[in-house]
């Protein structure tokens, strides 16, 4: 990470910790939602932004994780176990879903994952004996740890934020390791990667599985956050919304999903002032942004900073797109 990136990370961290002290309960709920969805978007960024595998299934994994935690905690299992099971289950399902990616790519793969999302939605809606169907599951309890309850909104926010921090550090570590380099190679030129000894099959499955696992963990926090879940929350809309977060924030930039989730969660709320027109204005803003800045917000900042600095085109100067030794391998489209 370059100095600008480090400064931005510290500023965001301070802001994130201080925010609930200045917000009303609904505001705290919204930033909790940001922390939860940022985890899911981070998982999608790994699959899509780094490894180059198009997925429209991330919302389904959030759903699987949410239902796993809801069902297991209501069956009496401790939250920690249910949360781990949500991540583990989605990791396993994601691994299996990765197999089509070994045969098809790009929009064909998008359709495979889209079909998976529809399948998950139908299972959640129709298998009433397990999921309670369209009535959903309510009364999902927020966990307590050694007497510290996360029932109050600020406490649950800090719990979500802490989980986001831990998972972000773990993801950062992975991306700066040879695995991160392998994911980038997989995205850029899988045939060359294969000839250099990279088991592209294993790395593709791993990228899918880890991204899906993060989606499941996000679902594990989503259920106790909203305390009521039903199938339509995890239909295609959520997958598209998570994709929007990754693309708007900056696909392949480590902090892209954080920025994207912030925009996708908060902007519609701020724009409610426009009443019935807010979705139209929101959609127009997204269209304009994609037309003029397809590399997302961080891609735009990257480009502007390069122009301002007028530096020579070294990797260091190219910021997050470069990958000097020990750095995270990032790119822009």
């Amino acid at each position: 990470m370059n100095r600008v990136g480090a400064a931005a990370a510290v500023s965001i961290a301070i802001f994130a910790v201080a925010a609930p002290f200045f917000l009303k309960p609904f505001g705290i709920f919204m930033i909790s939602m940001w922390a939860v969805l940022a985890i899911a978007a981070m998982g999608l960024n790994l699959t899509l932004g780094y490894a180059g595998q198009v997925s429209l299934a991330q919302g389904a994994f959030v759903g699987i994780g949410a239902y796993a935690v809801a069902l297991l905690t209501q069956a009496g299992y401790p939250f920690v176990l249910a949360f781990a099971a949500a991540g583990g289950l989605c990791f396993a399902v994601g691994w299996i879903l990765g197999y089509p990616a070994l045969r098809v790519q790009h929009h064909y793969l998008a359709f495979v994952t889209l079909a998976f999302t529809t399948l998950v939605f139908l299972v959640l809606r129709n298998e009433e004996w397990l999921t309670n169907g369209i009535y959903g599951i309510n009364g999902i309890a927020r966990p307590a740890f050694f007497g510290w309850s996360t029932r109050p909104a600020p406490n649950f926010y800090f719990f979500s934020l802490g989980t986001l921090a831990v998972l972000s550090i773990a993801t950062w570590w992975m991306l700066r390791s040879p695995w991160g380099r392998a994911f980038v190679a997989l995205r850029e030129n899988p045939i060359r990667a294969l000839s250099l000894g990279l088991d592209t099959r294993r790395y593709t499955l791993m990228a899918f599985a880890i991204g899906s696992g993060l989606g499941g963990l996000a679902g594990g926090l989503y259920a106790p956050l909203v305390q009521f879940i039903e199938p339509s929350s995890f239909a295609l809309g959520m997958s598209f919304n998570l994709l929007l977060m990754v693309i708007v924030g900056g696909s392949g930039y480590f902090f892209g999903p954080f920025v994207g989730a912030l925009i996708a969660v908060l902007l519609p709320e701020w724009m409610r002032i426009a009443q019935g027109y807010y979705l139209i204005v929101y959609a127009a803003l997204v269209i304009v942004m994609m037309a003029f800045c397809p590399s997302g917000i961080l891609g735009l900042i990257d480009r502007v900073s390069k122009v301002v600095l007028r530096s020579r085109p070294t990797a260091a100067a190219l910021g997050p797109r470069g990958s000097a030794q020990g750095s995270v391998h990032e790119h822009g489209p």
Partner: protein, 247 residues
């Protein structure tokens, strides 16, 4: 000297057209074998069959006596077989150093150790040595995509050597390279060959390059070997002249 690569009666067809039609040859340790032939003679298809990119219809490939026909390229690479492609194949969004570390990292430890171990997989110094060997030190931290075509070509070849391979197959290494860089590339290949005692198989159109580098030459035409011998003999062979000039 032992046989490193043994190809027996290899055949590969696309539809009704035999791209490689019963090719057999051996490459012994320390040899630099050149494979030449007009466009469409089956050279790259032969490479791709040997290296697992294509599955041959018939025939056998053995490396150090072990049957490797149909083996995946990544598994072949771990056996010490490396290659370059006809077209440039560097990773433009990675730095020069990261390209080289990537080229060697899968030979270091296990999948798990590559996750929890050092970011450079313990290859930082080896990568710097390879960068210096190919005289790219001044551009080590730049993105590969920012290098000139010739420098990317050098990086491409350096990546093939990064894991210390026993057998290197180079597909048109001189393609699109200017004369100055060509002589530099040939000199580096010869230096590596002497230093590491590696075995090379080189597909090339640039005859001067082949004559200066290779110890033996095979000529392919229409998927078959039509001549084989020392470079100077091949140059005078009427069958070769006919295959190239078409009369």
């Amino acid at each position: 000297m032992s046989t490193v690569l043994e190809v027996s009666n290899l055949r590969k067809s696309f539809g009704g057209i035999a791209a490689v039609d019963g090719v057999s040859f051996e490459v012994v340790e320390g040899e630099i074998l050149g494979i030449i032939g007009p466009n469409g003679s089956g050279k790259s298809t032969l490479f791709n069959c040997v290296l697992g990119q294509l599955r041959p219809n018939d025939g056998d490939v053995r490396i150090d006596g072990r049957r490797t026909t149909g083996m995946r390229p990544c598994d072949l690479n771990r056996l010490g077989v490396s290659r370059t492609f006809q077209l440039l194949q560097v990773f433009p969004q990675l730095t020069v150093r990261d390209n080289l570390i990537l080229a060697g990292q899968e030979h270091q430890g296990s999948m798990l150790s590559r996750l929890i171990g050092p970011a450079d997989a313990g290859l930082g110094e080896a990568a710097d040595r390879m960068i210096a060997f190919f005289r790219l030190s001044h551009r080590a931290d730049e993105l590969a995509g920012a290098l000139s075509y010739g420098q990317q070509k050098l990086l491409d070849v350096a990546m093939a050597f990064m894991a210390g391979p026993r057998l290197v197959l180079l597909d048109e290494p001189a393609g699109g390279v200017n004369l100055t860089l060509l002589s530099h590339l040939r000199e580096r290949l010869q230096a590596y060959h002497v230093e590491r005692k590696a075995t090379f198989v080189v597909i090339e159109h640039q005859m001067e390059f082949v004559m200066a580098l290779c110890t033996r030459v095979l000529v392919l035409a229409e998927g078959r070997i039509i001549a084989e011998g020392a470079p100077q003999e091949i140059r005078r062979d009427p069958k070769v002249i006919e295959a190239y000039l078409g009369h």
